[in-house]
């Protein structure tokens, strides 16, 4: 009973610390909001509005028809300046254009009389993803043009694929990144805040005062983590509210389950923060590790930016110990696909396992005496 009271007092002390620093608090709550807005409205993996240039040396009905089709596509923004080869190269070097489509002279003639014509497509492949995507868009437009002429010619034996897009019929970005942002924000907030606030006590010397108190050292650490657990749950709620009401992304599965899994993930992150704080002595070191060491790997290895199956094998193995990867899969399954616990028990178990291992190592190396 007395212990409980002490524990609550400590938690109150930590809350006072957190709430006193208004600037940090503002960032803590502002960050998820800004991120959801950026990801929701600014970022897209889709390639569109790419500036391209068309060199029409043919200027005949066929080339005109294809050009007007390219113009109609939202993927391209066509600048019509006719250029020679040298201008073309300069424009690429300046980054003014991403792709050039060149129709050779006599394009329509070749098509009508020899049934065969060619188009040259030059892409700025310094961004290879962009280049292949744009090239494939151009060929889709040309394919479309050809099948239009097929329709008028009554070609026999047509196979028509009917494509249905599951979960995300409008191919929006939100279903992919909202779970990603949740993983990212929770990971960084929890890890960094706990690590720094514990190391700060070490650095300023107040840790010694806490350790000589009759209160168990383990509880000192746990009480540091509690405020961040609550703050993070508030963040989860605000992200979900934003994504439902601003981005129009409904939660298809159980909200209770989502919160339970989020709590588990937050605890994993807090443990990671404690682990870092045990291993470092200065705030700068703790920050550098939790930031430089966490930011890019979390973005990369959780799989919401880059598909994990494309990575070399050792990195695929490594991604398995990144907690945010599992959380990302869990949130995606519950929120977007609307699956129940039966589909994600394995991921949950792995997260719990990572937490226990981290906790065990931190406790082992936690020193009650400072130096």
């Amino acid at each position: 009973m007395n212990d409980m009271k002490q524990f609550l007092t400590f938690i109150r002390k930590e809350f006072a610390h957190v709430l006193r620093d208004k600037k940090t608090l503002l960032i803590l709550f502002g960050m998820p909001v800004v991120q959801i807005l950026i990801f929701g409205f600014a970022l897209t993996n889709e390639v569109k509005n790419a500036r391209i240039v068309i060199l029409d040396q043919a200027n005949d009905p066929a080339s005109q028809r294809i050009i007007s089709k390219l113009e109609a596509s939202r993927y391209f923004e066509i600048s019509h300046t006719v250029m020679n080869h040298e201008d073309l190269e300069n424009a690429f070097k300046k980054g003014d254009i991403r792709l050039a489509v060149i129709f050779p002279a006599g394009f329509n003639n070749d098509l009508l009389h020899q049934n065969h014509a060619s188009i040259q497509v030059i892409a700025d492949a310094s961004d290879p993803n962009n280049a292949t995507t744009l090239t494939s868009y151009v060929s889709a437009v040309i394919q479309d043009y050809l099948s239009e002429t097929e329709q008028t010619n009554h070609v026999p034996y047509q196979i028509q694929p009917q494509i249905r897009y599951l979960y995300n019929p409008q191919l929006k970005g939100a279903p992919n990144f909202v779970p990603g942002v949740m993983a990212l924000v929770l990971m960084l907030v929890c890890v960094m805040m706990t690590a720094v606030s514990i190391v700060k006590e070490k650095e300023t010397g107040t840790m010694e005062i806490l350790l000589v108190s009759p209160f168990s050292p383990l509880m000192v650490i746990v009480s540091k983590a509690v405020p961040y657990l609550i703050l993070s749950l508030v963040n989860v709620a605000s992200i979900l509210l934003l994504s439902v009401f601003v981005l129009g992304l409904p939660i298809n599965g159980s909200i209770g389950l989502l919160f339970a899994e989020s709590t588990l993930f937050i605890i994993t992150c807090l443990t990671l923060g404690i682990f870092i704080s045990v291993k470092t002595d200065t705030q700068q070191a703790a920050m550098l590790i939790s930031l430089m060491g966490m930011l890019l790997p979390t973005i990369l290895f959780s799989g919401f930016m880059f598909p994990i199956e494309n990575m070399p094998l050792p990195l695929q193995w490594f991604s398995n110990i990144v907690p945010s990867k599992w959380y990302y899969i869990i949130v995606k399954s519950i929120m977007i696909k609307g699956l129940g616990f039966g589909a994600i028990w394995k991921e949950t178990l792995i997260l719990a396992g990572i937490t226990i291992v981290l906790l065990f190592i931190s406790l082992k190396s936690f020193k009650i005496r400072l130096s």
Binding site: S118, I119, A123, L146, Q158, L291
Partner: protein, 372 residues
Amino acid sequence: MRTIRFLLQKEFRQIFRNRSILVMVMVMPVMQLIILPLAANYEVKNVNIAIIDNDHSSYSQKLISKITASGYFKLTGYDFSFKEALKLIESDKADLILEIPHGFERNLVRENKQQLFVAVNAINGTKANLGGVYLGSVIVDDNNDIRLQLVQPGHFSQQPEIDIRSSNWYNPLLNYHVYMVPGILAILVTMIGGFLTALNIVKEKEVGTIEQINVTPIKKHHFILGKLIPFWILGNVVFTLGLIVAWLIYGIVPLGSILLLYGFVSVYLLAVLGFGLLVSTFCDTQQQAMFIMFFFIMIFVLMGGLFTSIDSMPDWAKTVTRFNPVSYLIEVMRMIILKGSGLKDILRQLGIIFLFALVLNSWAIFNYKKTN
């Protein structure tokens, strides 16, 4: 001049004294630069496909073998009910389901027309889109083969064909590392430069040593310069390390002038350091400084065109990126390193970054108060 020399001596001594930070500053970027480009691979290959063949005819078999032979697809499930195939999609084992309906071959021959059903997991829009396009092109190809086989030559006019000759400039092998390495290097240089300056000054505030400096006759700009120069040098060292890693591990040698590259990075570092200084004048604790820096760097990275192209952003977001110094560095690094762009190509960006440096640093000096 003498004052600055002494200040520099002090700063360098402090930097070199803290070995663990120094090692982290040098080793972490190098490690990240080696590993991250390998991970950041956006090529869409290995689209996992599950095929439900209800027809089991020679045509459906031929189509399936065409799909598996195309190199884009990996067959992860074959011959399920649709329900079972959907399970594969739910557990992320398949990205695409192709359902070949019963009587596919017969209907195609008799009725001249037959549909195929494709269901795509569209949570990841790009992959879904490209997977659909790839599958479409394989089907068209198969369709043409069937036509050639069924139709006797001369019975119908041969289909017109348009050949697309595509060439990929600057990166003919479409190597994704080549694209990512300069971008990631830009981020690392920014993080090192920005964070360290911000933290450094705030640390002096937090432990109280800044008061000792404030009571000396050191001028504001002396103090700021004394903080800027060491980290400017450190930033350049990290950048050099990065270039060496890019060359040794990825074989990337800048096509353009190295001198121009350093010139741009030098001016850029001034801007980022200025930003760090400015943040530090607003903060009282390292934790605050860290969080505010982190908040901005996050936005800078996401809006910098490293992972997603700026062209595709809506207009308001494009306007925001104009105020993002990182977007200029990423752009210029890629231009000089990959395309060999020259001074006249990057003049605009250089001017803007210079402006950034000027504004941020003057603002920081203006905002730094020797008295509370």
